[in-house]
């Protein structure tokens, strides 16, 4: 017995140490990869994103504003929690596929697909109760005294009625596509 233990002890120690190091490397590497593909620089490294949606985005309040606090692409388009994030990341492999195919590699192709793309994003946000909006915009912290009267009229009534941000605030970070009203209907947005 003692003899066997003596034989496998160094092996066991090496295995444990190697597993430990391997764990750090692989898990760390996985997370590093996840983060590296989860920032704006990565998103706009594709000209499809840089020349179309990002260019439009730069004019909006989520990019440029009084205080300089700003949102980046993944803040709105990738969930923050681990599990939903992984799901979204796996779904995003389709985007890589279409990047390779060149589905939207010209402005014309992009404009032709735009309603479809936007509608899918509206559906996603509607289904998650505008989760990515609410990561920063907290209804409980909204001060109706500070808001404009049009905002108060809508927020004080409609948010309690179960409406969600994207129902009204679509097209604020990117321009609305032609035929957007049909897309909004298809996504189940309750605009009024």
């Amino acid at each position: 017995m003692n003899f066997i233990l003596k034989r496998i002890k160094p092996l066991l120690t090496t295995t444990i140490i190697l597993s430990f190091i391997g764990g750090i490397v692989f898990w760390g590497g996985f997370n590093w990869g996840l983060e590296a593909t989860n920032n704006e620089n990565f998103c706009i490294s594709c000209h499809e994103m840089r020349d179309n949606v990002f260019e439009e985005y730069k004019e909006t309040i989520h990019y440029t504003n009084r205080t300089g606090v700003r949102a980046t692409c993944p803040d709105c388009h990738v969930p923050k929690d681990w599990y939903p994030k992984i799901i979204r990341k796996i779904q995003a492999s389709r985007e890589v596929y279409h990047k390779i195919l060149g589905t939207i590699d010209t402005r014309e192709k992009f404009e032709a697909e735009r309603l479809h793309i936007a509608t899918r994003e509206w559906k996603r946000l509607k289904a998650s109760d505008s989760l990515e909006c609410r990561n920063c915009h907290n209804y409980e912290s909204m001060d109706f005294v500070e808001q404009g009267q049009r905002a108060v009229a809508q927020h004080s009534v409609n948010l309690d009625k179960g409406k969600t941000c994207i129902d009204c605030h679509m097209g604020i970070a990117h321009q609305l596509p032609a035929g957007w009203e049909e897309g909004a209907k298809e996504a189940g947005l309750d605009r009024h």
């Binding site: 004019e59 909006t60 309040i61 404009g148 009267q149 049009r150 905002a151 009229a153 809508q154 097209g171 604020i172 321009q175 609305l176 596509p177 032609a178 035929g179 957007w180 605009r191 009024h192």
Partner: protein, 145 residues
Amino acid sequence: MKTIFAMLLMVFASVLLAKESIKSLRGDHAIDEISVMPTVKKMAKDGDPIERNYVQQPPIIPHSIKGYRVNLKSNKCMSCHSWKNYKSSGATKISQTHFKGRDGKPMAKVSSRRYFCMQCHVPQANTKPLVDNTFKPLSSVSSED
């Protein structure tokens, strides 16, 4: 000969006039001087409808329109002011006149010559008028209250 003389006179007169009365858009500054940057005007964020200042004035916009897009694909104003949406949003509905085409025939949709709202309707900033005017509100031409 007479016409040439007349034309020359006109050119001469217009040059003289231009020298005296026309001020360029950059103001009174000489071209080699550094011009003074005007202060940025803050648009009124929100408020109640504003009374019209003269007869036939297109109503002015009593709220900020920052980021509002009106183009071929979408018209942000219509998401509140259209006949379909004005009730639920509590906004003023667009006038019946906007549904008439250029030949005077009524249309089901907003006429394309009325589509670009900000051609006539403008938002407000609290500033002094650039020029004086003598425009009067409706009460000055109507005997009724």
